[in-house]
Structures are given as C-alpha cells and as structure tokens.
Symmetry: C2
Subunit: 433 residues, 2 copies
C-alpha cells in the first residue's frame, strides 16, 4: 500500500452557481500533493458516502474537471439535505467503515454551518477510532449565513456574490420593464431567496446604489403587515408612478400563514402559497390605484443555479477556497474550514486562511440591524460598501456548443463497493413513515 | 418648411429583450434618408401620441441610441396596452391632429397583430384626410404569434428567439439543480409565458434536443387534468428519479380556475393563483413519492426583459426589421409591415421583405398541432429544426460600468405641445369606472 491516502469530498444543502468551482479548486490542488491519493466524491453528499457510492474524480478527464468552473449547482456530484445527528451513531460508525475500506485519510465537506459541524464530528470520531482522518470544511451558501455576525470567521461565503449579482442585474432589467410598462401595470413584486437572513434581497439595492429607482426591499428580519406594505407602495406610486418591490421568501406578512418543511424551516418554495403570490393578491385586493396592478416574479432556484449571472470574483474565490482546503488537508490540519477574510483598506482584497470548524459550527450570522433603514424598506450604504465588490466587474466566460451551454459531464466511474449494503438511518425512518 | 416630414414611432404591448434594437434600426436607418425629418417616439406608445407626448429621438446622443441594442424591454420610450378600437373615432381624429401639428409624414408601429391593424387604420384615415401619411409596421412579440400558421407572412417575430434562448439555457442550468438535488426534492416545475400559444414553453426542448433529460412540456394548446399530469410525472420519476416540468402560464388544468384580465385574456401573472403554484400544490397533495416533492419557479416578466440571454441572431434580425421599416417608410410604401422570411435550404438564412398590414391583421397563427407529441408532454424534431437557429450561437456583448449594466438613458427631450390637452377615450371610460 502506497503511503498516499485517499480523499472523500461531499457537498451538502442547496447548491450555488460556484459550488463546483470550489470542487474544482480542491481536485486540481489535491492532485499536486503526493500524500493525497485518489479523490472520491460522495454521490449526493454524505448519503452517498454512507451508501458507499464513491465517484472517482481523479479518473475524470481534465477537461471535464476544468468545465466545473462554468457548471452551476450540484448536478455533477450531487448534494443532499441529509442531516447527520449526533444520535445517529450507526451512521457515524458506517462512515468510519467506509473510510477504512477505501483507505480514506482526508474528508472535505462543502457546505454551511451544519456541514462544518458534521465534518468536525466525523473527524473527531475517526481519530478516536485511530483512523487519523483529516477533516476539512469548505464554506458554501448563497444566503451568506455561515460564520459570525462580526465577519471575523469569514467575510462572506462563496456563492453569495453570484446570487447578489443575479439580483443586481435582474433588477436593472426588471426596471426597464417596469419603467416601460403601461400605467395599468405599475407594481412588480420579485421574491428573493433567504428564508431567515436578508443578504439576498438586500443585494437588489446593488442595482441602484444611487437610489434613483422606485425600489423597496423587504427583508425577513422585519415582519410587516399587508396594510403597511400597501401604504408604503402606494406612497411610492404617488411619487414615482410605479414600484419594484423585492420581498424575501421568508418575509412574515401578517395574515399570511407560514408553511414549514420537514426540517422545521419556513418553506415557501414548495408551499401552498408563496409570499409573492400572497402579497400581490393582498395588494390587488386593497386599494392599489388600478385593479390587477401588481404582478409577481418568483425566480426560485434560478438564482442559485444560473451561471450567466455568476460573479467572476465569486468564481475565483470559490476556487481559491477549494484550493486552500486541499492545502489544509495535505498539511494534516484537521478540524478547520478554509475561509475568506477581507483585508483592511478601501480597495477590495481578501486573503485565504483557516478557522476552526467548531467555532464556525457554534456561530450564527445575522444581517446587521444597522444595515436596514428605519422604515424597513431599504438597506444602507454600509451594506452597499460591503456587498458591491462581491459581484465583480466582468461577465463570466461560458462556452457554447451548438447553441447550448457546454457543462461538465463526469463519467460514472464509481469505486468498487467493498462493504455490505447500508440504508442511512434517517432514510430508514423515512421509509417507515 | 423643408420638404422632409417627421416620423413618429410607437411601441405596443408586452416588451421583448430586443424591441429596442428594432427601434435603433429604425432610428439609425431613418437618419440616412433626407425625406425623413425629426424622429419622435410616442411616450408610452399610442397613448403618448394621443397626449402629444413626443420624445425627440433625433436629438439623442448617438451613443445612447447605440446602447438600445443592449437595453431590453420598453423603458426607453415606453409601451402601452391601449387598444384603439374602430369606435373610438375621437382618438383617430386626435391622431390626425397631432400628426398635422408636428408635420408627421411617417408613422411606424412596433407591435403584434393588433398593432398592425391599428397602423393600417391610422394610415388609411390619414390618407382620407389628405395627410399623405406613410404607415409602416415592425413585428414584435416574444410569443411568436404574429402572422399566419404557414409561416408565409413572417417566419418568426423578433423577440421570440431571445425568449426561446432564455428557456434553452435556463432549463440546462435548472437540470444541474434538479440532477444534484436530494431525492426528497425531485420535481421542478417551471412556468413559461404564452397565454394561448405554445412557442415559448416548447423552446424548453432546445435545452435537450437529444431527449436525454427528464423533461416534460405542457402547452396551453393541450388541456390536461391534474391526474394525467401526476401520472405522467410519476412515470418519469419511476424511470429517471426526477422530473423537470415546463408548464404554459395558460395551461388549462382541470379543477384550476381561470382568471381573466381587462382584455378578456386569461391572466395568470397577476392572478389569484398561478398555474405553477396550483400544479405543485396539486401534485404535492396527490401521491408524489415524497411529501413536498414539487417546487416551482415562475420567472414571469424576466423572460421578456432579460438581456443576458438575448440571442444574437434575434438582436440582429430585430435591428434589420427596424431598418427595413425605415426604408419602406422612406420609399413611401404605406400599409406594410417589415418581415423576416426564411430562405429554403439546410443552412439558416433569412431575407427581409414587406407584407401588407391588412393581411397580418387578419391572420392568426397557431402552434402546429403536428409539432406536439401524441402524449401531449413534448414537441417534435420539426419544432427543433424550426426554432434552433433562432437562439443563435453566441453570447451578446453587454457593457458593464462599476459592476452594473450600462443601459441606454435617453434625455427627456419632448416636442413642444401645440394642441389642447387630450384624454384618450378609453382612459376616460376607465376613470369613470
């Protein structure tokens, strides 16, 4: 047996436009370290690791790995929403078995706070079992809700800049529609992702840092009543004749019920009624100037799988965060997440560093209350200064073949299965229900 | 008084990503003809002409007119949904007065079938009044519903190719999300525009001409029941484990009520419940494998105001259709619409020509029934052969300044008002209600 030990990488949670570029950074950097052997991906996240479904990334054509830069979301290796709870001891033991069976010495988890917690627990347990596993995390989330509120552990997560750019540009285009539309159609409601935290809807302000557009932004952090919204919007209509209204999917509007998903998250994307729908119904019913005056766009998952809007800054940072994780792994620095920290100064610059997984897992980021304007319909210039650099200054370069986007297509090269079949614990419970 | 007579151009109906490029073609070409004087735009369409709100396009900086290429929708000169009915004789007489007062000899209307009818009637009446007005139409609609079903009057309308490209690429990206998503989240419903005609949802097939993706497409032409849909989708889930379902906003699903707008059109974008929402609620309620399994994206107006997806073929054709209209006007060829006709042969090529406005106004295009597959969940290769060339092979080039899109910004140069104030007839009725 060579001294090199193999690596398993897995993704968790909702995807981002740049998640695959972190994967690419990891794979391309890990290839350069002799102590790292074959790199496997858990097929659909940690569930794939539990089921011993390990996709061989080292065996893929270099061209396809390179194309991960322009391939959004998680179609290449998959993701999952499987939560590894402390009580699921069988699952943890199974992971150790899989790692042993495939000589895995490095485990990299790309995800949010929960994933960093999982990576930490897995590495700890493996080391208790004498496996000497190096566990490393790579940050990812469009919501920008990883780390602390003081931005000390991480300035922003890869993924956020691209979704912010989506909103910055999409709102600019939407304004051309709204400005040109007929007086009978003056209100356009746009529903943004971010169930609990306002970084995504806030980024709509990047479309208009000078505040020239008739734009109102409602974050989940500030519950409103339909009456307040209608008053605000009618005021804007009187001043500007039209209104673009960005609402968080998690906005609590009095008299609109909430729907919870199986994780207990407020869940609108598969709910009975989206916030946007409820808001336009409510507005149309109560005293907007013209009947049928409000319409809504719900871009939904598009804002996290659209490569055309991807920020080149975000793409590059995602790649570097992946590279950094490979380096941490190769150095044997277990229990850390690669991170992006902003350098002081007027000109945007970042450095790549590491922070303990345990600290990330125990932190909770909130949108700074001081970045929300007192009337609750906008964000401040401090937010603009924070977010503006993240959307970059260039278009991504995306190859086309025969009119379609040329996306990475990985070959189905799976590691031989050496262990008995295994059903992840939470899936067993699910199938009993 | 110089022999040159002035031109009025106006837009009507919903915008498209390339409508301004037709305007640019018109303006840039008309400038070259000595018989055409100042070019005015009706501010917000024909309503602006009635109100004598005439934006001077000839006085705009050449740079801003050039930027109309990358400026989507109708924010620059506005559009309206004002319908000029034959019975509104006061409106027609008012138009003549406005044209006389501003020495207008050329009237160009950019729009769909109704607009071609209006352009024709206006030119006829003006000529009965001895005004010698040249009335010319420029085709525009993302729905591709202008002209005849045999594609003899026009092969396709400017605007359609860009919205088709939107769907081709957006579905490719959505597939990356759907392929990577957790097994608990296997159905993604995407709602496409096109209240009555299926060209837009059909273009989702351009994402996957080889039929490798788990994609079903439901056109407004084929009413379904929720039960049929659930059966179809469950079948796809059994085969592929996941499903991308494109539904027309005008799809008639049994047990889902319809909502009509003020024109009597079925109107979902500002309705009580969108089709997508109703479909996912229905699917989630009846026996998809996992609870909460279907989610929906409703891109809404984004598909007609998104410049990033614009087809370069569509952009160029829209420009040429505008140029052609200027040429028809300059030649005094009244009563015609500029048109795009496909040349025979395997390699896509078009020529620009003219067709009588009256013929266009009296025609009705339908989506060829033979292009819908027998099971009603897909379109055929004939559709692909028709639509594929329209989405082009290149990305549009869109300038950025400080991270934002640099859009055309016209100056508010309005012609002096020489007539008494006038309230368009239909607006009077509206304010009485």
């Amino acid at each position: 047996m060579s001294k090199a030990r193999n690596m398993v990488v897995a993704q968790s949670g909702g995807p981002s436009p740049v998640i695959n570029n972190s994967l690419r950074g990891l794979v391309e950097a890990a290839r350069g370290f002799p102590q790292i052997g074959t790199i496997y991906a858990g097929w659909h996240g940690i569930e794939g690791v539990l089921k011993e479904e390990l996709l061989d990334l080292s065996g893929q054509p270099a061209d396809e790995i390179a194309l991960l830069r322009v391939t959004p979301a998680a179609g290449s290796i998959g993701t999952c929403r499987y939560k590894l709870r402390e009580s699921q001891t069988e699952d943890f033991e199974r992971l150790i078995e899989v790692f042993k069976a495939h000589n895995v010495g490095y485990f990299c988890y790309i995800g949010g706070n929960d994933s960093m917690d999982t990576a930490n627990k897995v590495a700890k347990l493996a080391n208790e079992r004498g496996l000497g596993l190096v566990g490393v995390g790579v940050p990812k989330t469009i919501d920008n809700d990883v780390g602390d509120s003081a931005f000390k552990l991480i300035d922003h997560t890869p993924g956020y800049g691209s979704t912010a750019r989506y909103w910055a540009h999409m709102v600019q285009f939407a304004n051309e529609e709204n400005a040109g539309s007929s007086p009978a159609d003056p209100v356009l409601v746009l529903q943004a992702m971010g169930r609990k935290i306002g970084f995504i809807p806030a980024s709509a302000r990047l479309a208009d840092p000078q505040r020239e557009l008739p734009l109102q932004i409602y974050l989940a952090e500030r519950p409103v009543t339909l009456e307040q919204m209608a008053d605000n919007i009618n005021g804007l209509l009187r001043r500007a004749g039209r209104a673009i209204v960005v609402v968080s999917e998690g906005l609590q509007v009095a008299d609109i019920g909430e729907v919870k998903d199986s994780f207990g998250h407020t869940q609108f994307s598969s709910s009975h009624l989206t916030v946007a729908q409820a808001v336009i119904n409510g507005l149309n019913a109560r005293g907007l100037p013209v009947k049928g005056a409000a319409r809504a766009n719900v871009p939904g998952t598009d804002q996290r799988h659209n490569m055309i809007y991807a920020s080149t800054v975000d793409l590059d940072e995602a790649f570097r965060a992946g590279q950094m994780a490979a380096e941490l792994a190769a150095q044997g620095t277990s229990g850390y997440m690669s991170t992006i920290l902003r350098e002081p100064g007027e000109i945007y610059n970042v450095r790549y560093d590491k922070v303990p997984l345990a600290e990330v897992a125990n932190s909770e980021r909130t949108f700074p209350a001081s970045w929300i304007t007192p009337d609750g319909t906008d964000v401040t210039d401090d937010f603009i200064r924070y977010a503006r650099p993240l959307i970059g200054d260039d278009w991504p370069s995306i190859p086309l073949i025969d009119g379609r986007v040329r996306l990475a297509r990985l070959k189905p090269l799976f590691a031989d299965q050496r262990l008995p079949k295994y059903i992840p614990q939470a899936d067993r419970k699910l199938s009993q229900n």
